[in-house]
């Protein structure tokens, strides 16, 4: 039997059988160095669990709970199969589709263009246009795209100067959505700004904005078999948040965006750090 630290630790902790313990005891008695090590090991039998249990630690931030909740929900929704329309008890997606069909009438196709419908205020045509544009986005569309900070800042300047639209690009990193790019679009000569984000899992989403001087409006949600679309109006800007992410994820994102709980990644007030001019 050769003495080493782990054997001494087992001996000091009373984890050796009677015979082995006696053998170690004899060896320790003959070695001042082993005795010193054994003394140290004995002195190290401290209330570690109690000490750390009594430790006051920073509270887990609410943003962490929220973002993990969003991830978990997204994972559950991704795992849940979408059943076909049958006579069985409908699943959540199926119920939503049936409800949409009941309250809004059948989704219609007109000259190859599909329109969202709502029992409330009908959406502006540009909303339908960005929704259809977003349907063409898949993960591969953006996975290799890197945000060009200088270009994004210039684009936002142009949005302010030429489109007369006061918006920021929200930073959704905490919610695991990476900003990819901002584009200036036009629909029937009306300026539309598109900001696209890629989540760590799943397809891209888009946050679009257009000037709209009608009164502020709370969030409205629509779903079809492909996408979820949230619209709202605030401070003379109409917003659309659209994509194939689970509705709960988009709802959580829209709430944080609308309530100003996300910092601006690019702001029309200031440039990101590191840019000159």
């Amino acid at each position: 039997m050769k003495l080493n630290e782990t054997l001494l630790m087992a001996w000091v902790d009373g984890e050796l059988s009677g015979q082995d313990a006696e053998a170690v005891a004899r060896l320790v008695a003959e070695s001042p160095e082993a005795q010193s090590t054994a003394n140290a090991l004995a002195a190290s039998r401290l209330p570690y669990a109690d000490a750390f249990a009594a430790e006051t630690l920073p509270t887990m931030p609410a943003s962490l709970s929220t973002s993990i909740g969003v991830l978990v929900q997204a994972s559950r929704d991704r795992a849940a199969p979408m059943p076909p329309l049958t006579g069985r008890q409908p699943a959540r997606w199926q119920t939503a589709r049936l409800a949409a069909a009941f309250f809004t009438g059948a989704v219609c196709a007109l000259a190859g263009v599909r329109y969202w419908q709502s029992a409330a205020e009908p959406d502006a045509p540009w909303v339908n246009a960005v929704a259809q544009y977003q349907e063409m986005y898949v993960r591969d569309t953006l996975v290799d795209v890197r945000d060009d900070a200088a270009l994004s800042a210039r684009t936002l300047e142009d949005v302010k100067t030429h489109d007369h639209l006061a918006i920021n690009v929200p930073d959704l990193k905490d919610m695991h959505f990476e900003f990819k790019r901002v584009q200036r679009l036009r629909y029937n000569d009306k300026p539309v700004v598109q900001m696209v984000y890629l989540p760590v899992i799943g397809d891209p989403i888009a946050l679009c904005a257009a000037p709209d001087n009608r009164p502020d409006k709370d969030v409205q949600e629509k779903m079809d078999e492909n996408q979820t679309l949230l619209t709202w109006r605030s401070n003379n800007v109409s917003y659309v948040l659209v994509g194939r992410a689970p509705p709960t994820v988009l709802q959580a994102l829209s709430e944080r965006i609308r309530n100003g709980k996300v910092p601006p990644l690019y702001s029309q007030v200031r440039r990101p750090s590191g840019l000159v001019g």
């Binding site: 630290e5 005891a25 320790v28 003394n39 002195a43 570690y48 750390f52 943003s63 795992a79």
Partner: protein
């Protein structure tokens, strides 16, 4: 483990993941980043949780792996072991004393563990604080059980030498201190 089981389990384990992340990184922002990244990775790869392994151990292993490869390199831990060691030797309380001194003992235990080299500190956190078995710690750290025990022994020797001055030694029978 199924996606759904894991997605139900993770929220309930969050407090422990948070505490472990704080102790691993000693930085609130790094801890938040670490927990998020670990949960993303776990939810992306639930099939990697092997039968017989606890979800908590597995999540700890993911956190440790991410910390080692992505987060630890961001900063150097600002611990001066020599200064801390001298202060501790002057102020060691009798562990049999009342609560205020017990609190001080607890604080010094935490500081002493925090000053250990990372390989020993992490083993102490997993085994001594989180209560993992040697085998579970070995799986979490992807090292042999013998290495876990060796690191633990060295950590305890360091800690014991610091605390030995004020504590009477009680060795197993047959050996006089």
């Amino acid at each position: 483990m199924l996606d759904e089981e894991l997605s139900r389990l993770i929220p309930s384990l969050l407090p422990r993941l948070w505490r472990f992340a704080l102790r691993l990184t000693a930085n609130r922002h790094d801890a938040e980043d670490l927990v998020q990244r670990a949960c993303v990775r776990a939810l992306e790869r639930p099939h990697q949780l092997q039968e017989g392994t606890s979800a908590l151990s597995w999540l700890f292993s993911i956190m440790y792996s991410i910390w080692i490869s992505e987060i630890r390199a961001r900063k150097v831990r600002a611990v001066n072991a020599a200064d801390w060691q001298d202060d501790m030797l002057e102020n060691l309380p009798d562990p049999r004393a009342g609560d205020p001194e017990n609190d001080l003992l607890h604080q010094q235990i935490i500081a002493a563990v925090g000053a250990l080299p990372d390989p020993q500190r992490v083993v102490m956190l997993l085994v001594g604080v989180e209560g993992l078995s040697y085998r579970e710690a070995a799986v979490a750290l992807d090292i042999p059980i013998g290495t876990v025990m060796s690191r633990l022994a060295r950590a305890r020797i360091t800690l014991g030498e610091l605390f030995a001055i004020s504590r009477p030694q009680r060795l197993p029978k047959g050996v006089k201190p």
